[in-house]
C-alpha cells in the first residue's frame, strides 16, 4: 500500500490535502500494519481528519500479523465500527467520518483530535482532569461499551473541547454481559496487580464480564484524569502500587487541592476492587478545586479495613499558585489586566511591552477560553498594534473554536483571511 494507492482509494471530491504520516505512535505503525494520513474532509464544513488504513495480511503473513490484520479480524472490526457509528452521539468515541472495507484492507477516517498525551506533556491539561472524568464516564449516556486500552495516548480532544476515545479498534460492544476482546492489547503496568490478574483470568476464559470491564474502565479513565493534574505517570516496568504513586506525586505541588484530591483517591484505588462511579469522583474533584482547599472527608474509594494505610494529613491549605477555578475568577483577573488595557489605548506601551502584553493575554485567553473579552483584546493587539495578519488569523481561529456561535468573530475571521491573503500576495 503506497501513498498513490491511498489517493486512488479516497474520492478526490470527498477528501483533500491528503498527507501520509511517517511514524505515528502505536502497534500498527511500528509493525507496518497500517498506513496513516491526515486529510481534510470536504463534506461537513471541511473538517480535519485522521485516516488509518489497515492493510489486510497477505497469504504469507505470520501468526501475529494474521491475528491483528487478518481478513476475519478486519471484517469483525468493520462490523463493530459500523455499529459504533450508529451510536457515536451517545458514547465517547471519536466521530467516525468514513468506515470502508476494501479488498486490500480497512479504511477508517475519523475526526482529527489533539492527543491528551501531548497536552499533558506540555503541562496544559490541568483543567481537563474533571472533563476527562465527565466525558469518558462509562456510566453516562449510552451503556454497554468498553474500550480495552484507555490511556492518554488513546484519548483525544476534539476542536469543540470534548474528550473522546481514539484507537477505535479497541472499542467493543457488550454481548450477553461480556465483551469478546479479539486482540487484548493494553498497558497492564498502568493497573494495580489485582486488576491486571482479574482481567487476564477473564481474557483466558474468552472475554471479560461487565463488572470487571467497568472496574478496569473506571480505573483507567481516572488514572488518565489524574495525569492531567500530576503529569505523566513514570514508567517503571511494573504494576502501579503505592510506592509508584507516592514517587509520582512527590514532584507535584503538595498544596494544590487537585493534587491532594488525586493523591487520596489513587492511594485508595490501588487497594480496592470496588472503584466508585466517575460521576461522584468528578463532582468531588470540582468541588475541591472550586473551593480552593483540599477535599474534606474520606476518599470516595472505600478501601477494605485490612488494606487501609494512613493517608498523609495535608492540613487546610490554599495553593500558592492556585488553579484557575480556585481564584476568584475571570472578573478579578480581568480587573488586573485593565490598567494594561488603558495603557495600550493611551499609547504608553512600546513595541516590547506590547509583545509582552499580548503574551499575557494569550495565557489568559487559554485559561478562560470562553471569555470573548480576552480574545477580542488579543485580536485588537494583533490587528491594530502588531499588525500581524498571520497571528490575528491564528487568534481568531482559536477563539472560534471556543466560542463557535459568535457571528462577530466569524465575520472578523473572513476579513482577516482577506487581509492575510493580501499580505501573502504582496510578499509573493
Amino acid at each position: 500500500m503506497k501513498v498513490d494507492d491511498l489517493n486512488a482509494l479516497l474520492p478526490a471530491g470527498e477528501w483533500t490535502d491528503v498527507q501520509v504520516l511517517n511514524q505515528p505512535p502505536g502497534m500498527m505503525a511500528n509493525r507496518d500494519w497500517a498506513l496513516f494520513a491526515k486529510a481534510k474532509r470536504v463534506r461537513g464544513g471541511g473538517k480535519a481528519a485522521f485516516i488509518k488504513y489497515i492493510v489486510a495480511a497477505g497469504s504469507h503473513a505470520g501468526n501475529t500479523t494474521l491475528i491483528v490484520t487478518g481478513g476475519s479480524r478486519l471484517n469483525d472490526i468493520y462490523g463493530r465500527l459500523r455499529s459504533l457509528q450508529q451510536l457515536q452521539d451517545t458514547i465517547p468515541i471519536v466521530p467516525l467520518l468514513e468506515v470502508r472495507r476494501t479488498g486490500a484492507g480497512l479504511l477508517i477516517a475519523m475526526e482529527e483530535v489533539t492527543p491528551l498525551r501531548a497536552i499533558i506533556d506540555r503541562g496544559e491539561a490541568y483543567h481537563l482532569s474533571a472533563k476527562v472524568l465527565g466525558d469518558l464516564d462509562p456510566d453516562a449516556g449510552g451503556a454497554g461499551w468498553h474500550h480495552f486500552d484507555v490511556c492518554p495516548d488513546n484519548i483525544g480532544l476534539l476542536p469543540n473541547q470534548r474528550c473522546v476515545l481514539i484507537d477505535v479498534e479497541s472499542f467493543y460492544l457488550e454481548s450477553d454481559g461480556r465483551y469478546s476482546v479479539s486482540v487484548p492489547a493494553w498497558k497492564p503496568f498502568r493497573a494495580p496487580k489485582e486488576l491486571e490478574v482479574a482481567v487476564q483470568i477473564q481474557l483466558a476464559a474468552g472475554g471479560i464480564d461487565r463488572s470487571v470491564a467497568a472496574r478496569k474502565l473506571r480505573f483507567e479513565v481516572a488514572l488518565a484524569a489524574a495525569e492531567c493534574v500530576l503529569g505523566p505517570i513514570p514508567f517503571v516496568g511494573q504494576n502501579l502500587d503505592r510506592g509508584i504513586v507516592e514517587a509520582w506525586i512527590a514532584s507535584a505541588d503538595a498544596d494544590d487541592p487537585a493534587v491532594v484530591f488525586w493523591k487520596q483517591e489513587l492511594l485508595s484505588a490501588i487497594n480496592t476492587d470496588n472503584f466508585p462511579p466517575l460521576k461522584q469522583l468528578r463532582e468531588r474533584l470540582e468541588s475541591a478545586v472550586k473551593s480552593g482547599v483540599e477535599p474534606t472527608g474520606a476518599p470516595l474509594v472505600q478501601v477494605p479495613a485490612a488494606n487501609t494505610e494512613p493517608v498523609q494529613p495535608a492540613g487546610i491549605a490554599i495553593s500558592a499558585i492556585p488553579p484557575v477555578e480556585a481564584k476568584s475568577g475571570w472578573s478579578k483577573e480581568w480587573a488586573l489586566i485593565l490598567p494594561m488595557v488603558h495603557a495600550l489605548r493611551a499609547g504608553r506601551l512600546g513595541g516590547k511591552e506590547i509583545v509582552e502584553y499580548r503574551q499575557v493575554l494569550q495565557q489568559v485567553a487559554m485559561r478562560y477560553p470562553t471569555q470573548a473579552d480576552a480574545w477580542n483584546e488579543l485580536l485588537l493587539v494583533a490587528i491594530s498594534y502588531e499588525k500581524n495578519a498571520a497571528l490575528a488569523l491564528s487568534v481568531v481561529n482559536e477563539a472560534i473554536q471556543h466560542i463557535s456561535d459568535d457571528d462577530g468573530l466569524t465575520r472578523m475571521r473572513n476579513i482577516i483571511q482577506m487581509w492575510a491573503r493580501e499580505r501573502q500576495n504582496g510578499s509573493d
Binding site: 463534506r43 491594530s384 457571528d407 468573530l409 466569524t410 473572513n414 482577516i416 491573503r421 500576495n425
Partner: protein, 310 residues
C-alpha cells in the same frame, strides 16, 4: 412548487463542478461539466446555465487574481430554487491558468424566514468547494481524471447545508429581504458574473450603470441602505396582501415578507464595539482596494493587450 429538500432540519444542496483539462461530458478538454456526469440529474436553474457562452465570461476572469475571483458572487433565483455560482483559479496540466466553477442548488420556500441564512450557507458552500476543488484539479492529476470518468469523484453530490459556515462577505439576510420585495429579479451578482443571468448588481450604482451597457441590469443592491434600487421599469414591487396564500407552482410570492420576519433574520454582531469599528475599517479598506484594483485592471486592459488571454 417543488418541495424544499430538507434532511434532519437542514436544507440539502446539490452541487455541480465544471472545469477544463479532462474529457468527461464533452469530447474535448475545453470547459465542461464534470459533476454530475449524467445530465438528467440536473434540475431547473442548473439546466439553464448549461447553455451559457463561457468564452467571454471566462476571459474576463482570467486576468483577475485568485482573491478577486474568489470574491465574485452570483445567486440566481426562480420560484422554487436558488443557485449559487462560484469560481476559483487553478492550473492545467501545462501549468497554464485555468478555472473551476462550482454551483450549489437549493430548494427554497420564499416564505421561509431563514432564507437569507440558507442563501449565505449555499454561497459559503459553493465558494468553499470552488477553492477546494481548484486545488484537487490543479495540474489535472490522472487519478482525479479517472475518478471523474468513473463517476467516483464524489459519493453523492448532495451536501448538508447545516454543516456549512455562512458566507459573510455579503449581508445575505438583508439582500434576500430586499429581493423578496421585488417582482422580476432573476438573480443578484457581482458585475463580472452578470453573464450568468442575474439582473441585480451586487455593487455600487456606478458599477451597475456601467454593467448595464453590456448586460440586462434592472437594479443594484445598495449596501448602505440595504435596499434594491431600480434602474429600469422591469422590476415592480410585489403587491402587499393582508393574508399569506402559498405561492402556486411556478409563481413567486405575491406579497413582501413581514417586517417582523426581516427583523428576525437580522444578524447580531456579538463582538465589542471597538472591534466592530476595526472590522468596518478593514472592510472599507478592502472594498476600496478592490475598486481601485478593478479600475486599474480595466485601464491596463485597454492600454496593454494581455497575450495570456484566450
Amino acid at each position: 412548487m417543488e418541495a424544499t429538500n430538507i434532511v434532519g432540519g437542514h436544507p440539502q444542496a446539490d452541487v455541480q463542478l465544471w472545469g477544463k483539462g479532462y474529457r468527461i461530458t464533452a469530447d474535448s478538454e475545453e470547459f465542461q461539466r464534470y459533476v454530475p456526469k449524467d445530465p438528467t440529474q440536473l434540475r431547473g436553474l442548473e439546466r439553464n446555465i448549461q447553455t451559457t457562452l463561457w468564452g467571454g465570461l471566462l476571459e474576463s476572469l482570467y486576468p483577475l487574481r485568485e482573491a478577486e475571483i474568489s470574491a465574485q458572487r452570483c445567486v440566481l433565483f426562480d420560484s422554487s430554487d436558488l443557485l449559487s455560482v462560484s469560481f476559483a483559479k487553478t492550473e492545467d496540466r501545462h501549468r497554464r491558468p485555468s478555472l473551476v466553477l462550482t454551483t450549489c442548488i437549493v430548494g427554497i420556500d420564499w416564505r421561509d424566514p431563514q432564507l437569507g441564512e440558507t442563501t449565505a450557507r449555499a454561497v459559503g458552500l459553493s465558494s468553499r468547494l470552488a477553492t477546494t476543488y481548484a486545488e484537487a484539479l490543479r495540474v489535472n492529476p490522472d487519478n482525479v481524471g479517472k475518478q471523474l470518468r468513473e463517476n467516483s469523484f464524489l459519493t453523492s453530490r448532495s451536501f448538508d447545508l447545516g454543516e456549512e459556515n455562512p458566507d459573510r462577505t455579503v449581508e445575505w439576510v438583508n439582500a434576500i429581504s430586499a429581493v423578496k420585495k421585488w417582482n422580476g429579479i432573476t438573480g443578484i451578482s457581482t458585475p463580472r458574473l452578470l453573464a450568468l443571468g442575474a439582473n441585480v448588481v451586487l455593487g455600487t450604482k456606478y458599477e451597475a450603470e456601467r454593467a448595464k451597457q453590456q448586460f440586462q441590469v434592472d437594479g443594484f443592491f445598495d449596501t448602505r441602505d440595504r435596499e434594491i434600487k431600480t434602474l429600469s421599469d422591469r422590476l415592480m414591487l410585489w403587491e402587499p396582501k393582508p393574508h399569506t396564500p402559498a405561492p402556486s407552482s411556478g409563481e413567486r410570492p405575491t406579497h413582501p415578507p413581514s417586517p417582523a420576519a426581516s427583523a428576525q433574520e437580522k444578524p447580531a454582531y456579538q463582538s465589542s464595539p471597538e472591534l466592530y469599528w476595526v472590522a468596518e475599517c478593514l472592510q472599507n479598506l478592502t472594498n476600496s482596494v478592490d475598486r481601485l484594483a478593478n479600475v486599474a485592471i480595466e485601464i491596463l486592459e485597454r492600454m496593454i493587450p494581455d497575450k495570456r488571454r484566450r
